[in-house]
Symmetry: D2
Amino acid sequence: MTDAAAAIAAAAQRCSNIGRWGPDDVLGTLNHITDADRVAAARLVTRGRTFSLSLPYSADGPQRGWRRRTNPVHTMLDTGLDAEHGNQGFPHGLGGADDVIAMPLQCSTHWDGLGHIFDHGRAWNGRRASAVVTSEGDAVTGIETVRGLISGRGVLLDVGRVVGGGELPDGFAITEQHLLDTAGAHGIDVRRGDLVCVRTGRLTRARSEGWGEYAGGPSPGLSFGTLDWLHRNEIAGIATDTWGCEVRPNEFDDAFQPLHQVAIPHIGLFLGEMWNLDELAEDCAADSTYAFWLTAAPIPVTGAVGAPVNPVAVK
Amino acid sequence: MTDAAAAIAAAAQRCSNIGRWGPDDVLGTLNHITDADRVAAARLVTRGRTFSLSLPYSADGPQRGWRRRTNPVHTMLDTGLDAEHGNQGFPHGLGGADDVIAMPLQCSTHWDGLGHIFDHGRAWNGRRASAVVTSEGDAVTGIETVRGLISGRGVLLDVGRVVGGGELPDGFAITEQHLLDTAGAHGIDVRRGDLVCVRTGRLTRARSEGWGEYAGGPSPGLSFGTLDWLHRNEIAGIATDTWGCEVRPNEFDDAFQPLHQVAIPHIGLFLGEMWNLDELAEDCAADSTYAFWLTAAPIPVTGAVGAPVNPVAVK
Amino acid sequence: MTDAAAAIAAAAQRCSNIGRWGPDDVLGTLNHITDADRVAAARLVTRGRTFSLSLPYSADGPQRGWRRRTNPVHTMLDTGLDAEHGNQGFPHGLGGADDVIAMPLQCSTHWDGLGHIFDHGRAWNGRRASAVVTSEGDAVTGIETVRGLISGRGVLLDVGRVVGGGELPDGFAITEQHLLDTAGAHGIDVRRGDLVCVRTGRLTRARSEGWGEYAGGPSPGLSFGTLDWLHRNEIAGIATDTWGCEVRPNEFDDAFQPLHQVAIPHIGLFLGEMWNLDELAEDCAADSTYAFWLTAAPIPVTGAVGAPVNPVAVK
Amino acid sequence: MTDAAAAIAAAAQRCSNIGRWGPDDVLGTLNHITDADRVAAARLVTRGRTFSLSLPYSADGPQRGWRRRTNPVHTMLDTGLDAEHGNQGFPHGLGGADDVIAMPLQCSTHWDGLGHIFDHGRAWNGRRASAVVTSEGDAVTGIETVRGLISGRGVLLDVGRVVGGGELPDGFAITEQHLLDTAGAHGIDVRRGDLVCVRTGRLTRARSEGWGEYAGGPSPGLSFGTLDWLHRNEIAGIATDTWGCEVRPNEFDDAFQPLHQVAIPHIGLFLGEMWNLDELAEDCAADSTYAFWLTAAPIPVTGAVGAPVNPVAVK
């Protein structure tokens, strides 16, 4: 076994939640959110201001075709031009526009579902990958199984600002200490059931520089070493403003997304990617309040292993 | 002018919000929600229980091809079978699944955007339809313009239960009086800025009988006569468990969705369609509480005239 | 082993071409066409009249969603309305229209590729199904491998006319004797390398009655017993005017397309489905000439197991 | 009027076929092919060797998103892995694979339909653009109208080889004299009804260098000045191995595809783009025979303004 393989296996063992919520569990770390947590989190709404944390879904998006991930193709079935032209066949002056989209489910702001990543042929909770995701989709942990659950206390850790002075460079590995330092600087604690949003500043940079390799290339992100923190804190989910949550290049030679390999099948953790945290981060810096009500309800595509989401934070 | 045309024109004049929020407005009735409303609405979270109001997005959905609206086609780019088979090229035992979707934006639970319907070639706020929606999409009121705004106080009016004893029959026109009676029975008032959910029971019936003509066919729904109520109450949006909000067949001879024709271009009202209100309705009946926190954040497809949404109510 | 299973296994053994063209073969029965055959077939062009044997690709097509096969969704990226409206940004009065399609590759007139059907986990030429077709497509016998080869002598066997007096009823199994009788009535012989077109009249009926269950339902078609004839005659391909070539319901209890199960993985035979043979059949009946030049070039989608084709016959 | 506008208008007037085949014509220059031409052309088949002139349709194709033209997204509905896994529900060991595609109709080897380009709001034969192509597609000259007609005598003019010594550089404008010189070097004449294939070598270069800006960028191609030759020779169609037939940058300041602007709406000429002529060109050079039987049958997508095609030449 290589050092990388050994490290992954060790972390998987240390951080495992497999079986924790019974053999039939499909909710993973969403089990950490209680109804009481939501009642408390709703009290964080004190100003009533809302923030969409979603990028646009657009042909001008970040995808460059890596792993056949393309940008959305949005086309019209009917338009205002057709309405004015009068070829729509409606009575009394009614006109309409309709539209269609074709897109990968992980092309823009999204949740990884629990069927998205496997470790040695095993999906979340110890199931065989082949028993979960076939060509018909994810028959067990499809994103529809959690369609109503992803709301509660959100916290922002603006590591880009605290540690990077605004933005972290590609390849920067965010460690547990960086997360603790950031929370400390914000005066906030991370609690069981939290939906943690980590801002690296990578998206901010893409906006000024152009997408480049934003989707699939080098990036700041979570260090493999944060797995224990993610597990120990019993958070419900974690989302970043990068394409893949973890630092790229990864910290092991010849590795690919080793944090995913532990986080999804062993911790059962929900990972959010390409979230737009900039406007929220500006506001948090301004009012020094880094906790908020967060609803991040995935579009419940039956059997999906990833899902578009428009997360909305309310302070 | 036919009677129908005259009635539509008269309602459009009576209920017009055109210009109310300035010539550049793209928010329509979402202007009715204030930050203070959201603070108050958040206080409605007392039990912490959540309800997804979205149907699944699935090949088994309600569409039958009417106006080229089809059900989603969800396909896999990679599966657990590929991961086990070992043809994915990842190191250290990592495996992955990815997926793709192609669908009309109004195929399942959705919001109508303000560019969805025109009246005599005019879109919301008096703009020419051709100046708003071309083959490149809605350049003015694309759904992305309201991506962070649709959250606040939700109220359920279970007309199906109160008036219909469970379900209303196709062709049943819900009048203002029915709405008032239902609110009265629930002991709830409808306020400025509310997101009103009207349950007819049509979806419940589709579940027991099969989709049939659920999407595009006969249906209970709002009477044309409710436009004044919708306008006068200054609600932010209204959603139903039917495909098209209003009663079908429509109440005028040779008419097609005349309520839409006034509600969208003249009132600037956001209409939600094919919302799944059954589980929420059961709960409301059980605890006699018909108001709740509601987040209904559309996927912000740039230039879209309709948008998938997974509305989440929290009580 | 059931009777059906035994019959399938026996036919597979009798009719096997596995290994006949070496272990690396990807062409199957297209090996039967020689260049000399094509030279001879070109001499069949005596009048210069052409016949497209393709159905339209349209939203009004035959699919009803069976096995997630839908009709094409064809949408416009730009239209003449946009060109006239002047929002396209081209100089000097240039305007343009562009379009997009989303469709199953077997939704209308198509070839089955050799990766389309497996027998007990084996694809054409004895390969493991998993070694041929993964989520990345058919890496071995993708339709692009035969992109230039499917042209030569076409013959029409109008069984519908000869045996059925125009059209055969659903469930009618076309036997070897029916094929021989039809060829006899036409005064034509079937030769090695031929592309055989069998008209049942099922499509003609769908045109008068509506699609109904045309795609996936009951149908006249080839009897399982014709496998020996298909193999012995060393034809290059066979196409019908039905959705699935063979008779439906199939002739065994609880069977599904058993002729496919032998024809594709064991014979390596190319099957054409939903071909429009009516206009050609009218002409053949009129001039008593049932052989012609045929080009049926599949769109070479890399890795495809099925392929749209517009076959063109020339007499 | 600018010089460019004047030149375009003058060429449009000189080369117009508008009305030549009556007011209802939808065939344009395909009217130039007679049945007798096809009989003669079939006699060009002397060796029986076939050549597919199509590029693969693949995610690795040339598109880079220009004008929302993307590469095909080909996904599987079922695979050999599923068949081996046994989750398909078929009896007796049958397994299957199915697939789906989403793509622009002009993403790879294709024909431009007559509804693809307009001049000052006019489509082929003088029709208003808006009367031809709306959001519902091309209701008049959709590619299905010519589905059986595009076969006949093909000729290759290998300008890349004769004039360029193999490949022409980007920006090289092929003039009438270059075409005449090439035909002369080949010992071939261009005749009424021919389908002319012009090889520039641009595709050959893309293969060695990578796609780069192959689709939409600088390119060798036909000079605007060849319009008279295209018109005078009464050819049925012309195809090149480049993305847009004509030289890029265009020869007028601030122009965009001015040859298209005359060729399609005024001449009614069928233009083929991104054809793969290399293998055919090698063969023609080897046997000094530049005429052949050509079938280039577009997939008849109803209402399409462009169409995938797998052209097959037979010598």
